[in-house]
């Protein structure tokens, strides 16, 4: 079973609500869900949609064919009718759309009229529509009742009852009226969890002991800010909306200097403002985690859409030479783990760590049976209390064998913590002499780099281990690449996915270079126009990809579109 439900409508019509509730019902019922959103940068009007794929097997990307299209506006039909699968149906309210469609795939259900009849308001027509989808799928509404009760319990009994009645009415009506509906749902497994990329990063931060988060709202990074802020009381976190992103990163640096784990996040525009602060964190060796959720640029670009255009920006941002790590998770689960690893390495090596995501990863929901959180890194590398006070002498930037100096906390003991954005001596005071400069660069950069590089995990390989065709990508395209390659599996094909991007992984654990060199065809898949990752691979390894699939229209790949493009390239082998 592998169905896609698409809900389309204007901003403000409740597309997101219907989508979220349906996703929750499906996962609670035990099905796997993958859902992605497509929305415009506006609060009312326009056209938005949410696309939910449900299956009894794990799913990691969106597909093109739509099985049920819930059309809350006329444009949903104009834009998406052509996407219907062979047995696909459009469900709509002719009264609301002021138009009736006689084609066989159309099911007219009076959502609004039923909602009003059930004692609800017009807005409850969305609940009727939700019920209708369940009716069309032939799904037992018991779990939907449970979800409605959970989601709406704060709104009072009356609201809950009206919604329950609406969902039942929608369910019953669709079950009765949809004679062409031939969907069958197999028995489901245990209930699943549902988590977005933004939430996963927030969860990873909280579980890593992040105690301070400063940010400035910017799509698509705001979801992480929301999540962490929601955990402030429960987990003892101070969150502050700064006056701008410059203040946000400097506050996070100040808090980290004060002895706590800190994070800030933004999208490309805000990160541009943070760049001087990034360099400051590096010079003062202050641990810092920065989330960079990409969207298409330059400048304001396409605020609500997706792109992978900032890899080299993240890599080269900041004046001067300094070490950093860059992680680009491919799934929500990876996002949790890599956020944790970012906090760990940032503190262990006293460096900035960048979590590079994009709108697609940030806003997409993944489902899991559960997440394994036992392996998260939770080591406190700071020198606290007696360990600090017991030292005879202390120098914040002491020259050590591995370049890492003990990280004390100001006010924690008699020793002074001194640091400077100027070049400094071991104590942290301004210096200009050539010898100290050379030794500090050796310490801060050259000694640490190989150690950090040794922490980096190799890319993930899926498919054939001696492939003729290798599809390579990074970050958010993991899921869609995996399914596209699986679909092409009759060929001798594999995919190589990089999520620990910098320092660039060595080939000790997995000789990906031998794999690439041994293949007949290598294709680098990226959501940008210039092949930023391919450029990085070339500069790090000397390897040049044979071909590229580059998408820069701001929309994510689907399984069909990507496998089609790969197939077209492979056909030429």
């Amino acid at each position: 079973m592998d169905y896609t439900v698409k809900i389309g409508g204007e901003a403000g019509q409740g597309v997101d609500t219907v989508g979220t509730v349906l996703s929750k019902i499906f996962t609670r019922a035990g099905y796997f869900v993958f859902s992605h959103q497509d929305y415009e940068s506006r609060i009312r009007g326009g056209h938005n949609f949410i696309q939910i794929r449900l299956s009894d097997r794990p799913v990691t990307a969106s597909r093109d064919p739509v099985d049920i299209l819930v059309a809350l506006d006329r444009q949903s039909i104009t834009d998406h009718e052509k996407e219907l699968s062979d047995s696909g149906m459009v469900v709509y309210d002719a009264a609301a759309l002021k138009e009736k469609f006689e084609r066989p795939a159309f099911l007219n259900l009076p959502f609004t009229e039923i909602a009003v009849k059930q004692g609800g308001s017009k807005i409850m027509s969305n609940t009727v529509a939700t019920g209708a989808v369940l009716g069309m799928l032939g799904m037992d509404p018991a779990i939907a009742r449970e979800v409605i009760k959970d989601e709406l319990k704060q709104k009072g009994e009356q609201v809950v009852k009206a919604n329950l009645d609406s969902i039942e009415a929608g369910h019953a009506l669709a079950g009765r009226e949809c004679l062409r509906c031939s969907f069958t749902l197999p028995a489901a497994g245990q209930k699943k969890m549902l988590i977005t990329g933004n939430e996963a990063i927030g969860l990873g931060a909280v579980l890593s002991g992040c105690k301070f988060y400063s940010g400035y709202p910017m799509t698509p990074s705001t979801g992480t800010f929301n999540f962490v802020a929601g955990k402030a009381l429960e987990c003892g976190i101070v969150v502050e909306q700064a006056e701008d992103e410059i203040a946000a990163i400097n506050m996070a640096i100040g808090a980290s200097f004060g002895g706590i784990r800190s994070m800030t996040a933004s999208s490309g525009g805000g990160f541009s403002l943070m760049v001087e602060g990034l360099s400051l964190a590096a010079m003062t060796e202050t641990p810092l985690v920065i989330g960079l959720a990409q969207r298409p640029g330059p400048a304001t670009g396409l605020p609500t859409r997706t792109e992978q255009g900032e890899l080299l920006f993240a890599l080269y941002a900041g004046h001067g030479e300094f070490p950093r790590v860059i992680f680009a998770p491919g799934t929500a689960e990876q996002a949790v783990h890599l956020t944790s690893k970012a906090f760990d390495l940032a503190e262990k090596y006293q460096i900035p760590a960048i979590l590079l995501t994009d709108q697609y990863l940030a806003d997409t929901s993944w489902s899991y049976d559960s997440l394994n959180l036992e392996t998260l890194h939770t080591v406190d590398y700071r020198l606290r209390g007696d360990a600090f006070r017991g030292l005879r002498t202390y120098k914040r930037h002491a020259l050590t064998g591995n370049g890492v100096s003990p990280l004390g906390i100001p006010g924690d003991g008699q020793h002074l913590i001194v640091t400077d954005s100027d070049e400094h001596d071991e104590e942290g005071h301004i210096v200009e002499d050539a010898e100290t400069r050379r030794r500090m660069v050796d310490k801060r950069l050259l000694k640490k780099m190989p150690l950090i590089k040794a922490e980096i995990e190799p890319p993930t390989l899926h498919g054939s281990d001696r492939p003729e065709v290798v599809v390579v990508g990074w970050g958010s395209t993991y899921g869609v690449m995996k399914e596209a390659v699986e679909r092409l599996a009759p060929r001798n094909i594999a995919m190589l996915h990089f999520s620990e991007i910098y320092p660039f992984p060595n080939t000790q654990k997995l000789d990906y270079l031998a794999l690439l060199r041994g293949a007949k065809k290598t294709i680098c898949v990226e959501q940008n126009a210039m092949g930023k990752f391919a450029t990085l691979v070339r500069s790090e390894t000397g390897y040049s990809f044979g071909s590229h699939i580059l998408k820069y229209d701001g929309r994510p790949f689907t399984v069909e579109s990507l496998s089609g493009e790969i197939d077209a390239h492979v056909g030429r082998v």
Binding site: A247, G254, A255, F257, E374, S421
Partner: protein, 283 residues
């Protein structure tokens, strides 16, 4: 009891006669009198001759970027609000580059004390006009003289309801020391603008120029009267008032953050929250 020697940092690289020496001396004496040991407080500074200040005063130090001292100090204070945090920066640093942060520090009323070395000129970059330079101040980068009106930090601070607004003079160390103590004792965001002659690049606003104009506010002056404070703050020219110009005790930021009610963030355990239960909300 601490001694002045305990606060003796590195040898200053300031020009002989620089107003910064007076500020340093006043601060060191204030620390002795407040009985604050060097490790018990942190100075955050920016870039400019003022930015070097903490290197010349033994203390915890974060000498950061130009204009960005206040956000660093805010983050630090939220991490450990039990520790006094002072910011030392210059007129270009705080009133120019970091203007937005100044506005928002005043709005938040974070319990940080800001000392601005206001010499009405850029010293480190050799003599360009600063936000507080008098109109017409000529320099290599202002060939027709400074064309903008000078910035009046006192007027802005009163308008923003900054909870402690004061002006001192680097040439009157005793007065400045008392002002510093008062500002540090004040609970809430404090701004102390310190008139500081630049003996190398500012040939107009000299020690003599300030001495002729500066006067301590009258003993009858009531800094709690905002309208009077506004009038006082507008005085800058033939007469320049020194002292506390405005004070308004209002709730401080840290006290409004629920998470900080019990103890400073840096002292809170456990460091890593329990995993169990964290996933429940996703089902």
């Amino acid at each position: 009891m601490h001694t002045l020697e305990e606060y003796e940092g590195r040898t200053p690289a300031w020009c002989p006669g620089c107003g910064n020496f007076g500020i340093r001396k006043a601060f060191q004496q204030a620390m002795v009198e407040l009985d604050l040991a060097p490790h018990q407080f942190t100075i955050v500074s920016g870039i400019g001759q003022s930015g070097k200040f903490p290197h010349y005063v033994r203390c915890n130090t974060f000498n950061g970027l130009h204009g960005r001292s206040l956000p660093v100090a805010t983050g630090l204070k939220l991490a450990n609000h039990a520790m006094p945090v002072f910011v030392f920066c210059g007129d270009g640093d705080c009133y120019g580059e970091g203007g937005n942060h100044l506005l928002n520090a005043m709005r938040r009323n974070i319990n940080v004390t800001l000392f601005v070395h206001d010499n009405q000129i850029y010293g480190l970059t050799k003599g360009q006009a600063s936000p507080t330079s008098m109109e017409g101040t000529a320099s290599k980068t202002q060939p027709f003289g400074a064309l903008a009106q000078p910035f009046n930090p006192m007027v802005l601070a009163v308008a923003m309801d900054c909870s402690f607004v004061a002006r001192g003079f680097a040439g009157d160390i005793d007065h400045l020391k008392e002002l510093m103590k008062e500002a540090i004792k004040h609970q809430g965001f404090s701004l102390v603008d310190i008139l500081q002659p630049c003996v190398t690049f500012n040939r107009v606003n000299t020690y003599d120029w300030y001495r002729k104009r500066c006067y301590p506010v009258e003993t009858a002056y009531d800094p709690n009267d905002r309208v009077e404070a506004f009038k006082k703050a507008l005085e800058f020219g033939e007469r320049i008032p020194l002292g506390v110009l405005y004070q308004h005790q209002r709730p401080i930021f840290e006290e409004k953050v629920p998470v900080l009610r019990e103890k400073p963030l840096v002292r809170q355990e456990p460091l890593f929250p329990r995993v169990a239960g964290m996933l429940n909300e996703f089902y």
